[in-house]
Symmetry: C2
Subunit: 255 residues, 2 copies
């Protein structure tokens, strides 16, 4: 379920401003993420800006826009104002939205992720391994920030994302499931034996610098990725990538 | 084996300039990477700069410097000139060096890596999983650039790194070994069965945008990380992290 934020009454003509967290809309920069947006969240898009210099990508965008009745404006001035990069030829402006996670599926839970590039990379990775649901516990990086969307290469539009003020709030809606918090003093992930179960699971990762708070040690099965002491911990995106890949390929034994 | 680049005759007094690729020296920014440098490549360090504002980290650095006869200079002006960040309180200046890889050990081979942050992150990751040898095929990012060293968090000083003009040049020195090029049209890595062998192996990863050239398909066992078609490929650092972790935990069957 996707619930759109309300837009101001003059939304059809309003001038699009550089992104701020409290605006009810955001935008993609670039042809590829704009197509991802139009394909996966068409009801949220309310305007597309194209550069005069756009090539073949423009046809792909115009085709989608005309099918869905989305206005297309050629407007290099606004593109230059919104995009920090020179080579942006398309911008898709969309209403922010709220989504409901699917309680029957496996989830990724990020507790207080702070870096926008990391968040985008993790979204791209979890999508690659078939996850479709991401929960984030506040305070957290803003998933609608154009920098997050760019780092995700538009994969942000392929998943359901939901933010919660506390982990308890997430637990209330996520249904009966297994939890695996990734913590430096958890059990070696590589030695876990998984028994066949119909329960979905959630993989939990903490903040870039501080990791997960200690109280997560009493939740589900805390796990760690086995590595040498040469580094004190892995980079968050690397840990998430390794953990997600490992669980995706986990072998389950019968009872 | 570590062979130091020659320094100019006035090296004892010379002014340290902001990093350029053609300088015979480079430097760390920050207490932690400076300690890593002094612990793992002590013979390369020829000067340490400390800020007046340095706290306890200064004692750790002075202790190491006095043991090894390395001059320490309090010099906030030079630190401000060399470091892009405000909170840098220590800089270790070192002569660049060349190293010989250990042909008996497993290697990571990066073919034309171009992003400095990625290179540093991959170095940190391979160190975490016990690799000590990194080969890079030119053109490639400069491993001595302070930005690479910072992204590696000093792990760059814990490994042997060697650069080659061609892959053939690397093959001439790397000894008899198994090669696993990571390529989108390789065999699923997760399905490989490894037979017990004493041979070391090399994991090969290509450039961020273009991957490995097609001719690597005829080298050893090309492998791919199994993922959905929702993204066309994984981010290079994520792919390297997943691949390195998987091989580190590979189970070998008797013949």
């Amino acid at each position: 379920m996707m619930e759109l934020y309300p837009l101001p009454a003059d939304w059809k003509e309003m001038k699009i401003r550089p992104y701020k967290k409290d605006l009810p809309y955001s935008y993609t920069c670039g042809v590829f993420p704009t197509i991802e947006l139009m394909d996966h969240c068409p009801s949220a898009v309310f305007r597309v800006l194209l550069s005069e210099k756009i090539g073949k990508g423009g046809d792909l965008i115009r085709e989608r826009a005309s099918k869905r009745g989305i206005p297309v404006v050629v407007d290099d001035k606004t593109i230059a104002r919104l995009s920090p990069k020179e080579n942006c030829f398309a911008i898709g402006v969309f209403t922010k939205y709220e989504q409901t996670l699917d309680a029957r599926r496996n989830h990724i839970v990020l507790v207080n992720p702070s870096d926008m590039g990391n968040l985008g990379t993790i979204i791209r990775t979890l999508t690659a391994f078939g996850f479709q649901d991401l929960a984030m516990i506040r305070p957290c990086a803003d998933v609608f920030d154009p920098r997050v969307i760019r780092a995700s290469m538009g994969a942000a539009f392929r998943i359901r994302v939901s933010m919660y003020d506390t982990f308890d709030a997430y637990q209330k809606i996520c249904g009966d499931r297994d939890f695996y918090p990734f913590m430096l003093n958890g059990r070696p992930m590589e030695e876990l034996v998984f028994t066949k179960t119909d329960k979905p699971y959630s993989l939990l990762f903490g903040n870039e610098s501080s990791g997960l708070p200690d109280h997560f040690l009493s939740l589900g099965t805390p796990v760690r990725i086995t590595h040498e002491n040469t580094v004190d911990s892995l980079n968050l995106t690397i840990a998430a990538g390794i953990g997600i890949h490992w669980f995706t390929h986990r072998k389950e034994t019968e009872q």
